[in-house]
Amino acid sequence: MTEKLHPIIEKAGREFADGKLERREFLRLAVLLGVAAPAAYSMVGLAAPALAQGAPKKGGIVRIGMRVQDISSPHTYSWIESANSARQVLDYLTVTGIDNVTRPSLVEKWEASPDLKTWTLHLRKDVTWRKGRKFTADDAVWNLKRVLDDKTGSSVVGLLKGFILTEYDGGEKDAKGAPRKSVKLWDANAIQKVDDFTIKLNGNSANLSIPESLFHYPLLICSPEDGGKFGVGSDGTGAFELVEHEVGKRSVFAANKKAYWGGGPYIDRYEIIDLGDDAAAQVSALASKQVDMIYQGAISTLPTVEKLPHVQVNSVATGYTAVARTHPIKPFDDKRVRQALRYATDNDAVLKGALRGLGKPGEHHHVAPVHPEYADIGYLKQDIAKAKALLAEAGYPNGIDVTIDARPQPDWELLAVQIMVEQWKEAGIRCKINVMPSAQYWANWTKVPFGFTTWAHRPLGTMILGLAYRTGAAWNEANWSNAEFDKLLTEAEGYLDVEKRRAVMAKLERIMLDDGPAVVPVWRAVFNYSDKKIKGYKIHPSIYIDAKDMWIDA
C-alpha cells in the first residue's frame, strides 16, 4: 500500500492489532474508508471469499420465479424484486457483498476526509454505455442529483438527508393537505464534479456509511438520456439488455454482445417468470424444471423442495425478525407484565415450529449476533413459574386476557404467533389472535396496541434500535420511551470503536430485557431455491440477485 491511509484506519489498525477491534468490523471500516477489499482482507490475515466454483462455462438460460413488477422508475423502487430486475441492466456505484463488505463498482476507489464530511469518488474510466457513449462523472452526478431531488420521490432521500440535505418550507402539502417540509441539497456545491472521472460529495455532517448508502437498491445508475425511465431497450452499463417485459408475466434479459467491464456474463439469457404469490405454484414450476430458481422460499414449501433431488436450498443468517410488541396501556403499562410475556416464551420452540430451525433463537433485545456490536449477555430461557409470579406481582394473579394483531403472510409469522399464544396460555396469558390482511396491517402497524411486526435486516444494531425504540422515532411502533435508553443509544452511536460500542450495547440490551416493550422470538435465515446446475450464485442477506455471475454446469 503506497497511498496514505485514512487516519481512522490507522487508529483502527492499531486497535485491531491490540485485539480491541473485531476482525469483521475492522474489515468493514477499512473498506468503507477506501481500502480495496482484497487488500483489507489481507490486512487482517484473511483470504477474500471466492465465488468461483471451477471455470465458468458459457451459454444457456437461467429462469427464475419472481414477481414481475412495474419497473419503469428505478429511482423510486420500493420492492427488492424491481431492483432485482433492473440491476441486470444497470449498475450501482458500489456493491455490498454477501459478507457485508462494500466493494467498488462504477466507483473504482473512494476517499473520506478525516472528519468524514467530504467523500471523493473516483469513477472507473473503462466503462461505456451499451449504446456506445463513455460513462463519466456527468452521468453519476445527474443520477445522484435526481435521487436527492424531492420531486423524484426516492427513498434515498431518507437515507442521506442528515448528510447532505436540508429542510425548508416550500409550500408543499402531503396527501391529507397538511403542510410538508421540502428538502434540498444543503449547498449548491454539495455534489461536485471535480473532473470527468471524479466526484466530491460535500456533506454538512459526518457519515461513515456513504459507500454502503450508495448501494441502496433504488440508486441504480441510469443513462441521463433515458430521463430516469427504464424499460425494454433502455441503455445501461450492465451485462444484459432488457428485451421483453410484461408486468405480471415475464421479463427477458439478453446478454450483451460486448464483454461486461466487470467480467461475465456467462449465460446467454436470463428470464424472470411471474408465478404469482402462491407458494405451491413456485414449487410445481421448480419440480417440473419450468424455472431454475425461486427468488425466495416459503417455510410451507421447504419439506417438498428438500425432496427434489435436482434442487438445493440456499440460506444465510440475517438480522431479519418479527417482534411481538406492546403499547404502554393496560395491562402492558406494567413492565412486570412485559417481562412475564418474555419469560412465557420458548424461543427455541418458535424457531423450530415456525421456521423449521432455519435461523437462530432471538434474545428479546433486537440486536442480532450478526450485528458487529452485539453483546452476548446470556440467553433468557422460558420460565413459566417466574412469568406467573411476575403477573401476580403486577396484580394479575388470575392471568390476563389480551388480543394480538398479526398478518397471514408470510406464513411463518402467523405460525410463530400461534405457537407463542399456546406457550403464553400456560403462564395465564390468554391471547386471542386477530388476523388482518397485510395491507390492512401496514396501514395500522404503529396503532395496534399489541401486534406482531416484521423488521428487515439492518447492518448495525444501533441502526435498528434508533429506528424502532428511540423516544418519538417515526417507526417506534411500541410508543416506548426510556430516557436512560435514549441517552445510552446516542452515546453508542458516537463510538467508531466497536468495543466501546459493545460495552454500551450490553447496557442497552439489559434495559430492553428489563423494561423493553417487545418479545423478539427469532432471527430468521433467509433462503431460496436453485437448481444444482446453476453455479456462481450465493444468496445475499437482502436477496439481491445478479445474473452476471451465474453459469450453468450442464
Binding site: G177, V247, S288, V291
Partner: protein, 312 residues
C-alpha cells in the same frame, strides 16, 4: 321472443350500472390505501403521499367514480395500476386465456357428465349407478386446491410426467397442450361431480314416469325407450345448470389459475382486488356480470327450444 330479449337486455344495462356503483363503493370501503399497497411496506410515507397525489386519489370518491364512468361510456376503460397497461388490452389477453381453459373444460365436462349421468340414472340403484354416485359425490366434495395439490404431488413431483405450472409458453420444455392437462383435470373433477349428480337425478325422475313404464310394457326395447322418450325430457332441468357452469368457468377459476400460475381472468381479478386496482376490478366485474346475465338469457331461450310448452 324479441320483446322478451329486448326487455332482458335493458334489464341487464340497469343491473350493470348498479353493479358498477356498488363495486366502486365497496372498493372504497375495503381496507388499506392504494399507494401503500402498490409501494409495499418498505416505502417511506413521503413516497406514499407522492404517489397518492400523482394518481389523483386525494380527490373525493364520487368525483373519481363519475370521471371513470364518463370515460368508460366512451370506451376508455383506463389503465391498470398493477399491470401497467390499458385495461382493454389486459382483459382481452387474460379473458382469452380463461375462455380457452373454460372451453376445453366445458367440452370435457358436458359430454362426460351427460353420458355418465344418463347411464347411472337409467338403471337406478344398479351397480353402475352406485359406483358413479360415490365417485361423483367424492369429486364434488374435494375442494379444487386440495385436488390440485394432490394431482401435482402425483404427476409433477413424483412421476414427473406433466408440467407443474401453465404459463402457456412452450419454451420451458413442455408443449402447451400438456400445460392444459392438470388444470382441466382439476376443473373437470370438481365440476363434473356436481353435474353428473344433477343429470342422474333428473334421469332417475324421468325413468319413474308412467309413460316410460307404458312404453316398456308395450314391448319397446329399453335402449329405444331411453333414447326416444327419456333422454330429451331428462336433459331439460340439467340444461340450465349446465349453462350456469359457464359462470363458474369464466369467473370462478381463481383457485385453479392461482395454483397453476395460469395467466387468466380469475387470477388477474384476485390481484387487482388485492391491490385495489379499480379500473381492472370495474371492467372485470362488468364482464363477469354480463356473462352471467347473457347465459341466463340464452338459458331461457334454450329452454324454450327444448320444451315446446314454455312460451316467453
Amino acid at each position: 321472443m324479441l320483446r322478451y330479449s329486448a326487455k332482458q337486455l335493458l334489464n341487464m344495462a340497469l343491473t350493470l350500472f348498479a353493479v358498477s356503483f356498488l363495486v366502486f363503493a365497496l372498493n372504497e370501503l375495503s381496507p388499506g390505501d392504494v399507494a401503500r399497497k402498490i409501494l409495499g411496506p418498505y416505502a417511506s410515507e413521503s413516497q406514499v403521499d407522492h404517489l397518492t397525489v400523482q394518481m389523483g386519489l386525494d380527490r373525493p370518491a364520487i368525483v373519481r367514480y363519475f370521471e371513470y364512468m364518463g370515460k368508460a361510456l366512451t370506451g376508455d376503460f383506463g389503465d391498470s395500476i398493477v399491470f401497467r397497461m390499458p385495461v382493454a388490452d389486459l382483459m382481452f389477453d387474460r379473458l382469452g386465456n380463461t375462455l380457452l381453459l373454460a372451453a376445453i373444460s366445458f367440452a370435457v365436462i358436458v359430454p362426460l357428465s351427460v353420458v355418465l349421468g344418463v347411464l347411472a340414472g337409467m338403471r337406478e340403484r344398479g351397480w353402475f349407478d352406485r359406483t358413479i354416485s360415490v365417485f361423483s359425490s367424492m369429486c364434488a366434495s374435494i375442494p379444487e386446491f386440495a385436488m390440485g395439490v394432490f394431482l401435482l404431488g402425483i404427476f409433477v413431483v413424483w412421476l414427473g410426467w406433466l408440467p407443474g405450472t401453465s404459463p402457456l409458453r412452450s419454451d420451458s420444455g413442455w408443449a402447451i397442450w400438456m400445460q392444459f392437462v392438470l388444470p382441466v383435470l382439476v376443473v373437470t373433477f370438481y365440476d363434473a361431480g356436481y353435474l353428473i349428480a344433477m343429470v342422474r337425478s333428473s334421469m332417475v325422475e324421468v325413468m319413474r314416469q308412467p309413460y316410460i313404464r307404458t312404453a316398456l310394457l308395450k314391448g319397446m326395447s329399453f335402449n329405444r325407450v331411453v333414447s326416444r322418450h327419456a333422454l330429451r325430457n331428462a336433459l331439460i332441468t340439467p340444461f340450465t345448470v349446465i349453462l350456469l357452469q359457464l359462470n363458474y368457468l369464466v369467473s370462478g377459476l381463481v383457485v385453479v389459475e392461482t395454483l397453476f400460475a395460469y395467466p387468466g381472468f380469475g387470477r388477474m381479478m384476485l390481484e387487482a382486488a388485492l391491490a385495489k386496482d379499480i379500473a381492472v376490478i370495474e371492467a372485470g366485474t362488468l364482464i363477469a356480470v354480463s356473462v352471467t346475465m347473457l347465459t341466463q338469457l340464452f338459458g331461457d331461450l334454450g329452454y324454450m327450444a327444448l320444451d315446446p310448452r314454455i312460451r316467453v
